[in-house]
Symmetry: D3
Subunit: 130 residues, 6 copies
């Protein structure tokens, strides 16, 4: 499946590419979008939902990039680790923050399995919190 | 595997329980620690590493709780979702933030697979960023 | 662990290789089988079960290849994505179908986590259906 | 996080609920949508993308439900297994098909790990196919 | 999907049930097999492969049960954790061994993600070992 | 994130490196530790817990390496597969054992999903065992 460049794209795909470029103030969209353009319906929906959620909102954009990196490590997605680490750096992430993020990812993946292994029942205090 | 209460614990386990209670200013440790106490070496190491990493550091404690929740959803760990959602709420997380967090978790799990499916090559720009 | 070629194989392994070649009408088995031949018991059992299930049955063979691709993407198995995409193409899969498959894989991985995150209770209507 | 009923919903959420009901010809939306309504942006985007992809397209709707079930089993999402099994039954899936689907899911999860374990290199024939 | 009891089973399914009972010296097969009997081809293949691999071999049976428990925790399969923990206990596993197993499972799930996060290149010494 | 060599390390990191080298009787630490040294708190905690758990204990060290390999395959961590396979070989693992281990990993990943798919209820006998 080949990536689709702007010049070869349908008007529908070009409109999404142009919106990505305008929103992010970049000269070209990255490889993810060029590949996803093979399925124009998903290109539109994925971009639409990322645009709605990943910008300023209840959580600040850097926090959301960090969460994205954490999940991408957990799921072992090389491309996503690279792209969202770059995104987090562009939003001000320091090396100390990235190292601490990796630590949290490691710890969470450990304690998730320990909680499963011991079949730990949910504390009453947590239930009332939810 | 039964949970171990403070009164039934060895001095070694009690010392960890007491440190958890003093650090977190709580009257009792939660169920996770009572179960993990069946393996005192891990009790000590897991607590030691969480104490070192999850407090104030390069990232603020709320951000780290949110990352923990995101990974626990991705890994489908009910106990961890409950305990770290409670932790995040105690640190000030709003319902709007929790909803937005869920949205990011959903999106990341989707785009992780789309990037894999299309075998998207890492952009040159991301490589120089790393 | 080296792949085992037909000429170097034991009679037991050769018999499986020959059955794969005859069943699939191919001149040589693919790399997966040559590696799995290091454990002849599994070679025989894996081939036996794939032969029984992946051919014509309650579901048509193309549908089963598509399901295989979907799981391989979810599990991030490069080899399996490559081999079963080739298998699906050989059974008539179009590029439009592959793109739509990727879309479904992305969506399912997203909504799986959203359902977990919100701890959505199973609808009564679904229970009676099962 | 409570589910949101139609009568308590904002006009924005009601519009999505009404579109789900009209599209699917059902009297009420299922629990998934009522919970997701806590994040109206995702409600709109998830529904929009499912509506675009899961209906008639390059793949028939039943095939797409089966793929959804397969991924939900792999990811261990109880709600999604229940809802998409019901969806597949409503589209004509037989018990024999469901059993064969389970078989494929089991086999794919096995061979995914065997391919990883043996680090099987991708066959040249598969590369030219892609 | 209902479990199938011996008295309601086809001769083909009964033969597998009888072989399980004779091999394991038990009076009835456990629930897993009764459910899997809905797909007789998989019943036969799964039992055949477990019988071939899980008994005495290159690794002792207890070690193989422990590995099964470790993977079942990692994949979050409650039934499999319960059945293989019972199997390991029947083969002599002590509580101290189970606790240490849980520790290894936690650590491996942590370091797996740390190795991914840091994109650690494989040491030359490991390459020559493989 | 660059690996940190002994000569460039802080005294804190050097102390951990020296302990790894003395404990394992090796001339240099492997790449994992050099990368993890970017987060000295985790370097210390991860090493401390591995040192406590992976040596002689309730389970023999080879068994624990095998479990590590099994989880690393399940999680698809190339580095961890390479390093712990080397570790297992150094502790006496034979090729026959490695092949049988791969078989168990494949089978467990299959039956984990079959148990989920059929929603198999836990047998009473297993409950009393736990």
């Amino acid at each position: 499946m080949r990536p689709i460049e702007h010049k070869d794209a349908t008007p529908e795909v070009r409109a999404v590419f142009d919106d990505i470029k305008a929103t992010r103030k970049v000269e070209d969209v990255n490889n993810f979008w060029k590949h996803l353009a093979n399925e124009p319906r998903m290109l539109e929906h994925v971009w639409g939902s990322l645009k709605a959620i990943m910008g300023p909102g209840a959580l600040d954009p850097l926090t959301k990039e960090l969460i994205y990196v954490a999940i991408s490590i957990t799921n072992n997605c090389d491309y996503c680790m690279a792209s969202h680490t770059a995104g987090a750096r562009a939003k001000g992430m320091t090396e100390a923050q990235l190292n601490e993020l990796y630590a949290v990812v490691g710890l969470a993946n450990m304690t998730n399995r320990l909680a499963n292994a011991y079949r730990v029942p949910v504390d009453e205090a947590f239930k009332t919190d939810q």
